[in-house]
Amino acid sequence: MSRAPFARRLLSVIGVDELGAYRVLRVADEGPDAEPGQFAMLAAAEDWGGGEEQRPFLARAFSFARQVRGEAHFLLEDVGPGSRRLCELGAGDGLWVLGPLGQGFRAPAAGRRAILLGGGVGIAPLAILQDRLTAAATTVLLGFRDSARAEGAALLDGARVASDDGSVGHHGRVTDLLEQELARDRDAIVYACGPVAMLESVRAICAARDVPAQLALEAGMACGFGACFGCVVARRGGGYLRVCVDGPVLDAHELERVEEPAGAPV
């Protein structure tokens, strides 16, 4: 595991590029190498807090999508006040970065094919994973809601794409492609990141076929380094795991199922 410097660092934005429905935030970063699957907590140095409901307040978790020549890249989807503010950043703007944090993907056993399966903005950690998996045979399966999002597939090489609306590639779920791939050749390990429903489907498919799977999870986070105990998911067999320090990448069998937390009746 790569260790984060103890203190958030004020880094400088190099640029924010469009990538279909997403943005790629590029930051000058001479910090430690991130491992694929690790993430950083990000917050704009200026004007962090003037959005809807006077948010954002906390920093936001983003996977390292790439790390090259002193640049760290993050893939952003605008889904709320925090990600929106980050999308607005421009060259020279300051960015607070804490990281790299968390447990990344574990390398495949020698000779085993790596299937990289991503949904939506969840493709981010798979890009850096592909960069580093130079030795292994890889298959890349990516699913998107629509064609604007499917442009994100450019982040990885040689992806087979599925789209919910059929505008690009397979009309349907990316997990359909996974089933095809595993039917063809089960000697594989699946690295997956994406929406909860997709991850649960990956988990179930792999469990049924006894294929190892590593799932990069998301959870609402306040700190990213184990301080708040806020980012938990239920562990198979009872108790909870902190996604930020026990994950974000978890072996699929550590979880009973992947599910959206449900809240409670008032």
């Binding site: 203190a7 607070w96 306040a222 105990f229 809240g263 008032v266």
Partner: protein, 309 residues
């Protein structure tokens, strides 16, 4: 700017709020840098209960305007697990923290009754790694029947019951969800507490947003009108509560003679200075550490640069 607190000599006035800094996890994440640049002049553990607790079901966090609502539910290994597994590791980190002199370790405990609290306190008394004990009588997230800390009489009775079981400094962490926090502080002092700390989080509620209703219902029944947090209600912390904390700390410090640990929404040396100005002896940093694990050290430096009143 060293500070003396209940017989302990601290390098500066900044400590952590209980439950907001897991030194073991931070050590794993940041390595020895955490120890060398330990941000707090004393380290306060999260709340320990007699029995192990898994904590509340997720979601446990809600971002409010300039604040955070949490419903963590006091996950911990229970007294035995803490003493066996966590305490030695925390003590090891604390013993080497900072410039090498180490920092005192405070253990925070909570119990549903005087009997439970007495067992917790007596067990802490027996461990030399523990420099002081903080009683959490204020956590709004957990159903312990009545909230002891909100009622001065109950509070006094509980503190009186545990006091004889330890010679270590005994800090009572007050609840802010009460009509007259100064009277509660007075009750703690009368019962023999060596210090009071405040504020804990303000009782708060967040609902699942209407906007995401469709998506969320598909995803498992999280619909509008439902509580967002798995624990239903939570506690508000962060900048949103700072002026409330300042009022309560001011009222308490004006009432009691024992030293006060002030906290609530502190983000800067200036914020810390204000708590000291109204009478706090120490200042604890909670939520701000989530934004930056080294915030405590920065705040201590900033505080150093501001003259006293």
């Amino acid at each position: 700017m060293s500070v003396s607190f209940c017989g302990l000599e601290l390098a500066h006035a900044i400590v952590n709020g209980s439950g907001t800094f897991d030194a073991i996890a931070a050590h794993a994440a940041f390595g020895e840098e955490l120890v060398r640049e330990f941000p707090f002049a004393a380290y306060v553990s999260k709340t320990i209960t007699l029995e192990p607790r898994a904590g509340n079901p997720p979601p446990r966090l809600w971002e409010a305007s300039a604040g955070l609502v949490n419903s963590i539910g006091l996950p911990n290994k229970g007294l035995d697990g803490y003493l066996r597994e966590d305490l030695p590791r925390l003590a090891e980190i604390c013993s080497r923290a900072g410039t090498g002199a180490g920092v005192p370790l405070v253990t925070n405990v909570m119990g549903a009754s005087a009997t439970e609290l007495t067992r917790l306190v007596a067990a802490c008394e027996a461990r030399s790694e523990i420099a002081a004990i903080e009683l959490n009588v204020s956590c709004p997230n957990v159903e312990t029947g009545l909230d002891i800390g909100a009622d001065p009489r109950q509070l006094e009775a509980v503190v009186r019951a545990v006091r004889p079981h330890t010679g270590k400094p005994l800090i009572v962490k007050l609840t802010p969800n009460t009509a007259d926090v100064a009277r509660c502080a007075q009750a703690a002092e009368d019962a023999g507490a060596d210090s009071v700390s405040l504020i804990n989080t303000l009782r708060a509620l967040a609902l699942a947003p209407h906007a995401t209703a469709g998506a969320s219902e598909r995803a498992g029944g999280r619909g509008p009108g439902r509580a967002w947090l798995g624990g239903v209600t939570g506690g508000l912390s962060g900048p949103a509560v700072r002026v409330v904390a300042l009022a309560q700390v001011s009222a308490v410090a004006a009432r009691v003679q024992i030293p006060v640990v002030g906290m609530g929404g502190v983000r800067s040396g200036a914020d810390a200075r204000e708590l000291l100005d109204v009478g706090a002896r120490l200042v604890a940093v909670g939520t701000e550490s989530f934004l930056d694990p080294a915030a405590g050290a920065r705040i201590a430096r900033e505080l150093d640069a501001i003259a006293g009143p």
